[in-house]
């Protein structure tokens, strides 16, 4: 049994492919490439393959992680090469590592943070200063209450998103481009779009969803001292850059 962590990017039109569909894209690519994924034991066996974290529809990403296991020992280079050959345009394998020594927990289970950028692509760039200036007072709030309609509960649900914002800054002099570090994974997760909506509401700027492009730039786990480390370093020794 071999265990792998594949890092890949997802850009362009393919950002409209949903999480579940992406999993199928990979499963089919593995089949085309002749790579057999292991199945779990038990009454209802399922393929041992999964993403570290779902990506919202319409987001791009520079750092997606797919963890999977195979019965056969494939060379890392072989997997990367095969995938790059067999993947649809927009998905590119960046690195593939063996993580046989990563312990019991999966990448999804250790995930704690994710970083994103938000880029404004609309026509009205004039509100750049307003939004940028609002960041400090926005973050100075003790609580930031976001209201979301819950389909399950069939009513609006309030939540405080402030604890899941670890950083937020403007990173361009010319463009409306923001960079942020947010909570991710089981211990508390925040979607950057919700945060940007709240920021825009805070400074009374209209938010139109199709004007913003979000890119996930990295995912992190916490090391022994509680410092964020890119998932790229999770449990692995054998590294291969593709």
């Amino acid at each position: 049994m071999a265990r792998y962590l594949l890092k890949f990017s997802k850009k362009g039109g393919i950002r409209f492919i949903s999480h579940l569909d992406m999993l199928r894209v990979f499963q089919r690519a593995f089949r085309r490439a002749g790579i057999d994924i292991s199945y779990s034991n038990g009454y209802n066996p399922h393929p041992r393959i999964g993403f570290a974290m779902p990506l919202s529809l319409g987001f791009e990403s520079e750092a997606e992680y797919l963890e999977f296991r195979t019965d056969t020992d494939y060379g890392i280079q072989q997997i990367g090469d095969m995938l790059n050959e067999k993947m649809p345009p927009g998905i590119e394998a960046i690195s593939c590592r063996r993580i046989d020594n990563a312990g019991k927990k999966t990448a999804a289970a250790v995930l704690a943070r994710a970083s994103y950028t938000a880029l404004y692509r609309g026509e009205d760039g004039s509100m750049r200063a307003e939004v940028t200036d609002a960041i400090v007072p926005f973050l100075a709030q003790e609580h930031i209450v976001s209201v979301k309609y819950s389909k399950k509960k069939k009513k609006d649900v309030e939540s405080d998103i402030r604890p899941n914002i670890y950083s937020l800054s403007s990173v361009s002099e010319k463009r409306l481009l923001f960079s942020m570090m947010l909570g991710a994974g089981n211990s508390g997760s925040l979607n950057p779009e919700i945060m940007m909506k709240e920021l825009c509401r805070f400074c009374e700027v209209e938010y139109r969803d199709y004007e913003w492009l979000y890119t996930r730039t990295e995912m992190f786990f916490l090391d022994g001292k509680g410092r964020p480390r890119p998932l790229d370093e999770f449990g692995g020794s054998l590294r291969s850059n593709i």
Partner: protein
């Protein structure tokens, strides 16, 4: 009213791709409009002489499960200089956005405006998609009526089963193609290239194309009507147009092109699997079945090729399931050895094999179990009629022994779900035939009581699913009157009452309104073109979808355009009456159909013509292949 979409003009649409992308963030299924799927084709302007738009008048997920789309896409894109892109009916949410933002109908591949293409080809799979064609043309900014279109507009073509009676769409479509598409599409494409190069007018092109075999140009024929409103014939308006249009037939299934690299959608569609076409045509001759008549003769693909295609298609797609397509799988002459081999191949690749409509008699239990394993639906059976007498009338060769034999077999194997399909409203049907349906259900439940596994017995369910008979053009029942909606309702209630007393039995039936509309359109004439357009104006689209179907609007459209539902749906045609589709030669002669109708009235079956020719008329054009059971294959 729907906000109009203005047609694409030059530079304004340069940014169509970006504008589409903006809408994608707001719609339910963005993957339907996104393109970029594995094995989809892109071509550069330098290599493109002719732009085809393959238009499927329904949603992406329906169209992408249709093998014909993959075949045509492959055939056209294999032609040098031809670029075929796909266009689907946008979902309701997308359409609203498109109208708001003035985004015209676009291709999936390049997001090119449909109106910029040279030719748009619609596939006509079911009558209830007709209003979608009008809607798509409107979204493209192309006038629906062919007489209103200018030289700059794309040529509008159509093919597929419904084009065997194309008249309801004849005001809209410039030309139809009937029969197998592979050859005719290439010939038409060559002609379209010439049109472009030499600057022919639409009229000049239509004159040329009308001489290609299998092509019908409706504007060259004017329908004539008698005082009673019935058709009396056509008056030709262009002398060189053929008197009758003969369907195209591709004879050699082993040399015809087949897509081994089908497009693999990102999103889940109706069927996510590799599909290999096993054979075309059907020899059984069920008298209600249009496909069985218009797709003759039977042409099989050799088992060696089917196996090779299956393995290549799986390797090129990464699907984990494969399926065979034909009108009745079990009739394939070498089905047993083929299934055995495919099963072995699939097992090796950890792939599921799904075989629709397989008859059980010829397979061992072990084999059945393996095939059934992958079938989610359980056992299905289509006796179509409840008594032997009515099955004789419709020429369905299943007998009670077949039904009970198969049921006993699967019950003994431990299956707890059996689904039975019947039709109501068939010509010659009486309430005794409905009793027969209930009788069959009862007997199967009894078989379960007797042979069922003790532990599973209680879970057993037999589903009786009933559809309403719709008389179709080019069938022996094309002269028949459809039951009135009241009569259908009465029969449904009667059956429900009969089956209510049967334990472990559930009953499903279809709405009568859609069946009635289908019956009108399936045997309609050219006057219905106005009705279809009117229905669209009133808001009709996606008529095949219950959530959209609005019969009140349709009734209004019939009233507004002076068309009479009864005249089309509930009137028996006279045997000597000229029928709107008589101008098409589907291969089977009208004389044969009439003979078959008379045999039906005498309750006499006609044999499967694999056992010997019954003289349907195909031999006027081709040598029908003879397939012997189990020959030449080891």
């Amino acid at each position: 009213m729907r906000p109009a979409v203005h047609r694409a003009e030059g530079k304004k649409y340069m940014y169509l791709s970006d504008r589409v992308e903006r809408l994608l963030t707001k719609v339910n299924k963005p993957a339907s409009y996104m393109g970029g799927e594995l094995n989809s084709v892109r071509k550069m302007p330098e290599e493109t002489e002719l732009y085809w738009g393959f238009c499927f008048p329904d949603l992406y997920e329906i169209g992408m499960s249709y093998l014909g789309l993959q075949i045509i896409y492959h055939v056209l894109n294999s032609c040098p200089g031809v670029y075929c892109q796909r266009i689907f009916a946008p979902g309701d949410d997308m359409e609203q956005l498109m109208r708001q933002e003035n985004v015209p109908l676009f291709t999936v591949e390049d997001r090119q405006a449909a109106s910029e293409l040279d030719v748009l080809g619609f596939t006509l799979q079911y009558e209830l998609s007709f209003t979608n064609i009008v809607n798509m043309l409107d979204l493209a900014g192309v006038p629906a009526l062919s007489t209103k279109r200018s030289e700059d507009d794309p040529i509008i073509a159509a093919g597929g089963n419904c084009s065997f009676n194309p008249e309801p769409l004849s005001d809209i479509i410039d030309f139809f193609m009937i029969g197998d598409g592979e050859d005719v599409l290439i010939e038409v494409s060559e002609l379209l290239k010439k049109k472009k190069k030499e600057g022919w007018t639409r009229r000049e092109f239509l004159e040329h194309v009308s001489r290609i075999k299998g092509v019908y140009v409706p504007s060259f024929y004017e329908p004539q009507y008698g005082d009673d409103g019935c058709m009396t014939g056509y008056r030709k308006l262009y002398n060189s147009a053929p008197d009758r249009v003969v369907k195209r037939i591709v004879m050699d299934m082993d040399s015809v092109d087949f897509p081994l690299k089908p497009i693999v959608p990102f999103m889940e569609t109706v069927h996510d699997r590799s599909v290999i076409e096993l054979f075309r045509g059907c020899t059984r001759g069920c008298r209600f079945c249009q496909a069985g008549m218009i797709c003759r003769p039977v042409r099989e693909r050799s088992p060696e090729l089917v196996r090779r295609f299956a393995s290549e298609s799986l390797a090129n797609t990464g699907y984990d399931e494969m399926s065979l397509l034909s009108l009745s799988t079990s009739d394939y002459s070498q089905i047993e050895p083929l299934v055995r081999d495919l099963m072995a191949d699939c097992k090796q690749k950890d792939t599921g094999l799904s075989l629709p409509s397989l008859r059980l008699d010829s397979f061992s239990e072990d084999m059945l179990r393996e095939i059934q394993e992958f079938r989610k639906t359980g056992l299905t059976f289509a006796p179509e009629a409840g008594t032997q007498r009515l099955r004789n009338i419709i020429n369905k060769s299943i007998t009670d022994e077949h039904i009970y034999g198969a049921a006993e077999k699967v019950i003994k194997m431990g299956y707890t779900n059996i689904k039975l399909y019947f039709m109501v409203g068939l010509p010659g049907e009486t309430d005794e035939d409905l009793d027969g349906i209930a009788e069959i259900a009862k007997n199967i439940v009894w078989l379960n009581k007797k042979y069922g596994d003790e532990k599973k017995k209680g879970r057993f369910n037999v589903t009786v699913s009933v559809s309403n008979f719709v008389p179709k053009a080019d069938t022996p029942f094309q002269w028949a009157a459809q039951d009135s909606p009241e009569e259908f309702d009465r029969k449904h209630i009667y059956l429900k009452e009969q089956l209510r007393k049967v334990k472990h039995c559930s009953f499903q039936y279809h709405g009568t309104d859609t069946s009635e509309l289908e019956a009108v359109l399936a045997r309609g004439d050219r006057r219905l073109g106005k009705t279809i357009i009117r229905a669209w104006e009133l808001g009709c689209k996606f008529d095949g979808w219950t959530e959209f179907f609005d019969f009140e609007k349709w009734k209004q459209a019939f009233a507004d355009t002076g068309a009479d539902i009864d005249f089309y749906a509930h009137r028996a045609r006279g045997e000597s009456e000229y029928l709107p589709w008589d101008i098409m030669d589907c291969g089977v002669t009208k004389k044969y159909m009439l003979h078959e109708l008379h045999e039906a009235m005498n309750e006499i079956q006609t044999q499967d013509c694999r056992k010997g020719c019954t003289g349907c008329g195909l031999k006027r054009f081709v040598e029908c292949p003879v397939y012997e059971q189990g020959a030449n294959y080891s």
